[in-house]
């Protein structure tokens, strides 16, 4: 789309430039690190150089003697405040500062507060820690070996590294389907550990006002309200004396859902020094210690009839959760929504089992366009379907067409109990194939193969599962996943909408104004969006798992409808007619049948705040609230096609084309949707081809800087070709489904399928991501390596 097409001024939905870009493009955003409060001190974290070691002693005396140091905090000191350990998001505990042992490289050991950032960092070197190095658990597959070192000996009676077993689906029925199937294909695969790597790292400025005892925490959080409540519960601080502010956030991708030790340390530092304390991690700290994503070792099996009807799917997962179980999942689902792994296909039975283990790696687990593990699920099923196509010698597009759920099957209940709201899958796949020129591409591929050239075409069809979620099923630490919204129309007809969700760059200041505009007819530029400050917004669980539009977007639409309902009453009072005699025309109420007599929203707003006599029981002003508990999740979907070329001599992959057809229901702002898709596709190319955090045998993190942890640039990305179909959600007030993570979820298998397809002449069946030149070459030699370990 050209820039001019995006420069529209819609009332409601449509392309328009982002309101927030005025400040972002001028470098006038206000991020946590931009804050400088009077008298502010700076913190720095001392981190463990070892993956697993006992702390014998810590000597902080030299650091304390540094002339600019104001406080040095250790785990021992936190213990006296009962804050050395805090609850994790998954019924475990997390060390704020290590007391007994360090359990991953980069773990927090001590915190220095000093007058400036440089002195704080210098003083870290004055702290002497005496470590007794212990053997680490690096390979998740060996975590449950009899002789494996026990990582979590802080848990009473713990004698192994087991966390949980969990399963979903009907095992007996699945076994039966497999026993009777003509074809069964098995494939092991790893979705390796990756990192969200947002442009802005994590940080906080905390200030406990010593006079009124009010604690304000400016932090890089995707969930300010949830954080406030957790601080209140964990630290015993009164919630009305707590304010969490999430200013402009430079990317989240799930990385900023959790509460990190650094936030707690900034708070403790401020309480001890009675001054504001800033803590801002550097790039390596972010990559080494904050929430990673994936790390699922999966054993998949797919069963089908000889003519390619998929019958059953089975998967066993070994989930590497790192040193603490701190994944951000709804309480009931320790593997998130992984059990939506049957994907977009109509099959008879399915079963999955997931076993979580501890290793000496950073904790976390769902970050990076998490979709609560739908990413892993889609990868599994889309790779398995391609493996099946390979065994059947059937075109993967044809195999998918044959097995996709049909429109008349919706709402569809999956074998593991998910209720897909709506979908028109074959239409989306056909559109993607048409944009790609699929049949022509296959011809070109055949010609190239005859010449020894390697070209691959990969397809992925994904169903996303977003908008968590119905309170009866979903909570995080007991907090229901419902979100509030307030819409207030000012006397002159301008409005403010207050949200519980928080943008990290998605464009909420524009799209939520457009949602309210769509319902009320007030132009988006006349609607201010307020978010990210617990003192100024209603409660809710925040932005992750693509939940803002499905949950808060619904809350905003309903609140706006309530405003319009009230506007009708006010207008009827102003026009001295019955409310039913009025007709709504976006932005005004007219007398039925006579457009010349009516009142605009601005006139109505002034009336509502003025002296118009309102009917008995109707209060003045024009505002409304809503708390939205979604009746179900929403299920966006899409069809992706990737075309790659592989240099047969160097094994280097280049992505030639990428076609992405997304169906996220109606598009609030198509430009923003395309931006979200573009970003997610780049993520997908990154994960498929270069991103990974591996560990060497000593547990050293091998992806701890941007020289080692590669993220894609524009040069690895083709010019994205996007398309759209629109299948509204039947249960969302505006039919919206959400799109934040679709492309991240859907694209990695398309790229991998394309590369494996290119390598077919070499008999390659699978190789784990990332498909770096070395890994592709190894695959061509018949020996792809494990990407989670150091390359030998």
């Amino acid at each position: 789309m050209t820039t001019t097409e995006n420069q529209a001024n819609p009332i409601g939905f449509g392309r328009m430039l982002r309101k927030e870009d005025a400040r972002f493009l001028r470098g006038k955003g206000n991020y946590v690190d931009d804050l400088n409060l009077p008298g502010m001190l700076h913190g720095a974290v001392l981190r463990s150089p070892y993956a697993h070691a006992r702390i014998k002693s810590i000597d902080i005396s030299a650091a304390q003697a540094h002339p600019k140091v104001k406080a040095v905090i250790t785990g021992e000191i936190l213990e006296t405040l009962n804050l050395a350990w805090i609850p994790s998001l998954s019924h475990d505990v997390v060390a704020v500062l290590a007391t007994d042992k360090v359990r991953f490289q980069g773990q927090e050991v001590a915190f220095v507060v000093a007058e400036d950032r440089y002195s704080a960092r210098d003083a870290l070197e004055l702290i002497e820690v005496d470590y007794e190095v212990l053997p680490p658990v690096v390979d998740a597959k060996k975590a449950l070996d009899k002789d494996a070192p026990v990582i979590r000996d802080d848990i009473a009676g713990k004698v192994d590294n087991f966390i949980f077993d969990w399963e979903s689906g009907d095992k007996a029925a699945t076994d039966e389907v497999f026993a009777n199937a003509a074809i069964v294909v098995n494939q092991d695969m790893l979705y390796p550990r990756v990192h969200p790597a947002p442009m802005e790292t994590c940080g906080a400025v905390a200030y406990m006002d010593p006079i009124d005892q009010k604690l304000t925490i400016y932090s890089t959080t995707q969930a300010p309200h949830a954080h406030r409540t957790l601080y209140a519960l964990v630290a015993g601080l009164p919630e009305h004396k707590l304010r969490v502010v999430s200013p402009d956030i430079g990317g989240g991708f799930g990385n900023k859902v959790g509460i990190y030790p650094g936030y707690v340390l900034a708070i403790v530092g401020s309480i001890l020094t009675k001054r504001p304390v800033k803590w801002m991690e550097d790039r390596s700290e972010n990559l080494m210690s904050t929430s990673f994503a994936r790390d699922y070792h999966m054993k998949g099996s797919i069963a089908a009839s000889a003519d390619g009807k998929i019958l059953g799917l089975r998967v066993d997962v070994l989930a590497d959760h790192g040193a603490f179980n701190n994944t951000a999942q709804p309480t009931k689902f320790p593997a998130g929504f992984f059990h939506v792994f049957t994907g977009s296909y109509d099959l008879m039975a399915a079963h999955c089992s997931v076993r979580g283990v501890y290793t000496n790696k950073a904790p976390g687990g769902v970050a990076y366009a998490c979709s609560f593990r739908v990413t892993e699920a889609v990868y599994l099923v889309e790779r398995m379907v391609d493996r099946l196509a390979q065994e059947l010698k059937m075109d993967p597009a044809e195999l998918r067409m044959k097995n996709l759920l049909r429109p008349e099957q919706f709402p569809y209940t999956s074998p593991t109990g998910w209720e897909y709201d709506s979908g028109e899958y074959p239409r989306a796949l056909r559109l993607a194939m048409d944009i790609a020129g699929y049949e022509e591409l296959r011809k070109e591929q055949a010609q190239k193969r005859a010449k020894g050239e390697l070209m691959g075409i990969g397809i992925s069809f994904f169903t996303e599962t977003v908008g968590a979620g119905p309170k009866r099923h979903m909570d995080i630490l007991g907090l229901g996943m419902a979100d509030g919204c307030e819409v207030r129309v000012h006397p002159t007809g301008k409005a403010v909408v207050r949200l519980s969700v928080q943008s990290q760059g998605q464009g909420h200041e524009t799209t939520f104004a457009q949602i309210v505009s769509e319902v009320t007819g007030i132009p988006p530029e006349d609607i201010d969006v307020v978010h990210g400050d617990t003192d100024n917004t209603p409660f809710g669980l925040g932005t992750y798992g693509s939940r803002s539009t499905p949950v808060s977007g619904a809350a905003a639409a309903i609140a706006a409808r309530r405003v319009v309902d009230k506007a009708r009453i006010v207008a009827s009072a102003m026009l001295e007619c019955a409310p039913e005699d009025l007709e709504w025309e976006k932005g005004r109420f007219n007398i039925k049948g006579d457009k010349s007599v009516g009142k605009t929203m601005a006139e109505i707003a002034l009336g509502a705040h003025g002296t118009v006599e309102l009917p008995e029981g109707v209060e003045g002003h024009l505002n409304a609230e809503c708390v939205y508990d979604p009746p179900n999740l929403t299920y966006p979907f899409g069809a992706y096609i990737c075309v790659v070329d592989v240099d047969p001599a160097t094994a280097k992959v280049s992505v030639r084309r990428f076609i992405a057809v997304d169906d996220c229901g109606p598009r609030i702002n198509p430009m923003i949707v395309e931006g979200q898709v573009h970003g997610g596709l780049a993520d997908g190319v990154g994960m498929a081809l270069m991103e990974v955090i591996a560990f060497d045998e000593d547990g050293n993190n091998l992806g701890a800087s941007f020289m080692d942890y590669l993220i894609p640039t524009s040069l690895e990305c083709p010019s994205w070709e996007t398309g759209a179909t629109v299948t509204p959600s039947p249960h969302h007030p505006l039919g919206l489904k959400g799109v934040g993570e679709s492309a991240t979820v859907g694209s990695p298998p398309a790229v991998v399928n394309a590369v494996i397809d290119a390598l077919a002449p070499y008999g390659v069946k699978h190789a784990d991501m990332p498909l770096t030149p070395a890994q592709v070459w190894q695959a061509m030699q018949g020996a792809p390596y494990r990407t989670d370990l150091a390359i030998q």
């Binding site: 020289m707 640039t713 070395a774």
Partner: protein, 291 residues
């Protein structure tokens, strides 16, 4: 933000002044050129010089000059200047070939020839380029000026013959009319260091190979070059079979490590592929000049 340890900063006014400061401040002082290798190491506190002597003001070290049949490049010449130079691309295509894949535009705008050579990273592309070109390096210090060959310039990873009180001032090489050259690199992603890279320089006389250089980066080749393959090629007819064999020899004589860029076997394989491609590229570049 990664913050370096405390450090003093001074600015050199001339080459002699830089040498005087280095001498006065001792081995804990370091020159800073583009800073794209030194500053990242300081931020990670892997390097902690007590004082930086900034040589960015030394305009007389920034030049690309033809001097008879010798091409001279000043130590403070930036990567981006090499990439943009018409003279360089005419004389030695291997240089723009390599420069186009060194780091990214931000690094290339600041990083210098002298800094690259003195950083002596085992994957430094310019080290392989200058090895292939049989370049000479001019070094000045309190004991005078010396000119040394790139052979023997590197004394190990991250170490060279340049003493702590010396400054590299110039890199030069002999040009000739029909000199063809090319550079080939495989990286995991644009802007990354090489998994392996090979450069070749070739000139024919009466159909026979009269001059040849093969530079290798990131694969543990002594002096960044494949000297046995070079010796094998010299004086022979430039045939595809000959190049195949030379590429195999280069692959056998280097000594790559396994790391996250790839296993050593793959790197060795790449050396063969890239040496072969570089030789082909150099030959066709040379033939283009002869016509």
């Amino acid at each position: 933000m990664q913050v370096p340890a405390p450090v003093e900063y001074e600015r050199a006014l001339s080459v002699d002044d830089a040498i005087e400061r280095l001498t006065r401040l001792g081995p804990e002082a370091r020159l800073v050129a583009g800073g794209h290798s030194l500053l990242p190491m300081m931020k990670l506190r892997l390097a902690r010089p007590e004082c930086l002597i900034d040589i960015n003001g030394l305009a007389d070290l920034s030049f690309i000059r033809r001097d008879g049949n010798v091409l001279r490049i000043g130590a403070m010449t930036r990567h981006s200047e090499l990439l943009a130079s018409q003279v360089i691309s005419e004389v030695a295509k291997i240089i723009p070939d390599a420069e186009a894949v060194i780091a990214d535009p931000i690094v290339r705008n600041r990083g210098t020839v002298g800094g690259s050579m003195c950083q002596a990273d085992p994957a430094e592309d310019l080290s392989a380029v200058f090895a292939a070109l049989d370049a000479m390096v001019e070094i000045r210090g309190p004991r005078g000026t010396r000119v040394v060959s790139v052979n023997g310039f590197h004394t190990g990873p991250y170490s060279t013959v340049v003493e702590p009180d010396e400054i590299l001032t110039e890199v030069s090489f002999v040009t000739q009319k029909n000199l063809g050259s090319a550079y080939e690199k495989v990286e995991r992603r644009v802007g990354d260091w090489a998994i392996a890279a090979a450069g070749a320089v070739i000139a024919l006389q009466d159909g026979k190979i009269q001059r040849v250089g093969i530079g290798l980066a990131a694969v543990g080749a002594p002096d960044f070059r494949a000297s046995r393959a070079e010796a094998y090629l010299l004086g022979k007819d430039a045939t595809p079979d000959l190049f195949d064999e030379a590429a195999r020899m280069a692959s056998a004589e280097c000594n790559p490590n396994s790391d996250q860029r790839g296993p050593s076997a793959y790197k060795r394989h790449l050396v063969e592929v890239l040496t072969r491609r570089a030789l082909d590229g150099a030959l066709s570049n040379s033939k283009g000049k002869a016509n």
